[in-house]
């Protein structure tokens, strides 16, 4: 829950953090390539790995759990450096904004800082497809070991995040 907690600037979203996103199943069958290009959004919202594990991304904004959805993740670096991966984009075309929701404090959104055409959006989505991790396939569950890994990653990312906050506060003082 947001509960009046702070909204953090993109400065605190670190390049090694992950952004997790829900993906539909559609006609996907086990063993097929996932996700399909048609299932990747350019106007995407995410769960930030500092405050969320991939499994929680299956909860919709209305707090309904959808086990039929897969979860994919992108490194923040991939999003910010899309122009390096794919030269069709200019520098600083994309960034990530922390926009907490009432039921989801980790909620972030992809910000398009420059106008992006449909053609460029297809390029962006294909880049996402090739650079994503796939922690959860539709209808699959994480094992206990995988869940432990997910929690460890979240707390590690949060630890580094707090150090960054602390350093930032010290510098300001």
């Amino acid at each position: 829950m947001q509960k009046g907690r702070k909204v953090y600037s993109p400065h605190f979203i670190l390049s090694f953090n992950y952004m997790f996103a829900r993906c539909p199943r559609n006609d996907w069958e086990s063993g097929e390539d996932y996700p399909n290009f048609g299932q990747i959004r350019s106007d995407q919202s995410f769960n930030w790995s500092v405050f969320s594990i991939p499994l929680w991304t299956r909860f919709t904004d209305a707090q309904e759990y959808r086990d039929g959805y897969g979860v994919i993740g992108y490194k923040v670096k991939t999003i910010r450096e899309t122009h390096i991966i794919n030269p069709v984009f200019e520098n600083d075309t994309f960034n990530i904004l922390h926009k907490p929701l009432l039921n989801n404090y980790s909620h972030c959104e992809l910000a398009q800082l420059k106008e992006v055409t449909k053609k460029q959006k297809r390029d962006l989505r294909m880049t996402f497809k090739h650079k994503c991790i796939r922690p959860l396939y539709p209808l699959k569950d994480r094992s206990k070991t995988q869940l432990m890994f997910d929690y460890s990653r979240m707390y590690l990312h949060r630890f580094v995040f707090w150090i960054r906050i602390a350093l930032s506060t010290t510098t300001q003082e």
């Binding site: 559609n26 006609d27 048609g38 299932q39 053609k119 989505r125 294909m126 497809k129």
Partner: protein, 187 residues
Amino acid sequence: MNGVLADQGINYDKGIFYSPTIEYVDLQLTSSPVKYLWIDQDEGTDQTKCDLTSQEMDTTKSSYDAVVKKFFVEKITKKIQYLQSHPDQFLIDEKINQPNELSFNYTFQTINKLADWNIFPDKLIPSVEEGICLNFKNKGKVLYFEIYNSGDLGYIIEDTYLHQTTENEDVPSIDDMVTKIKDFIAV
């Protein structure tokens, strides 16, 4: 009824539309393919073979195997009708517009034009970018054709081995897209 196709000129190796199995159709590719289509009517006890000589293969004709074309077009039409009558749950959850009548109309036109060349999409799914996305596979490459609710058309080709985009273009019309897909499949 089992339809048996005896010519390899048909694009079945390009993937089967949204179903791992095709009901009622067997593909039998023999070492010396016969260039005609026949139908095995095994209804009841009387097994009659109907030689459809009128359906003889001719590469200059665009509608030489009506049975196959009808089968796939009907299957895809059913899929389109299903999408029209059953809004996609993911799109609802994500507050994305469902494919509209214009994108369904364009999809239907594309399917019918491609069916004349025995080309059928590997997948047809509602796109999260508001519209319909058709997938065509050929030799390690996938062409994703997107029909947007706005009426815009575009495609992107992915090399699945190299994980690269090989082409990405907007397309002005359905006819241009059909030509592009035919070229893609013919490579």
